[in-house]
Amino acid sequence: MKLADIVRKLDASVLAGSDRLGLEITRCGASDLMSDILASLADGSLLLTGLATLQTVRTASIAGVGAIVLVRGKTPPADVRELAATQGLPLISTPLSMFVACGRLHACGLTGLNGNR
């Protein structure tokens, strides 16, 4: 599923990386625990999180995450958006809750990080 379609499905707005919406996403992980993200094989995946900090972006970069979705309408400080842009990491924000955002993406056929549904 293209990131552009995910943005529409989640009624989301793009905060950084609008030039990378053609990115193809198949796997998703949802966590507020940075350690979980670092411990899983997240390469090219979508990370859904309620944490909108600099560490979210750095952790995602290190883990190889493809794009970040901030849930519950989180609007991060400008430095977080700038870091995501510098890292070439698309950052989008959805007003939906974590549960509903995950539900919509699951219904579209996206899988968990290990490929399970």
Binding site: L33, L51, Q55
Partner: protein, 146 residues
Amino acid sequence: MPGLTKTFFIKARDFGHAGEASIRVQQILKSMHLDPALTRRIAVCSYEGEMNVVMHGADGQLVMTMGPDSLELDIRDGGPGIPDIELAMRPGWSTASDDQREMGFGAGMGLPNMKKNADGITIECPPGRGTRVRMRFHLKPEGGGP
């Protein structure tokens, strides 16, 4: 491949810059076109180690040394050290503060994750002399790895 040594300083409690050294390590390895899976393992270990210094240690440094066959990350700080290494290696055990947990850290997975991703890990913390974590990675496929 010629030898390469890079040193980065790590400031304790500075969450605004925490992780920048590891992002640099990752950029250097990517620019050398190292195997992506290996690059990821090294970057994760570097970042976990760097965050440990930021959260639990005192100012320290990260030294990356690359030889023809292996790469070493040597992370040192002048903090209080680890009173019980066996306990710290146990998944889920953490001394992180509430603030640090709110930032998504402190799940007690740092050292176990470093052990899982490195080809070798040595932790030294002589009383009152800080902590030194050294991790080694084989750069050649025949060297093995997880």
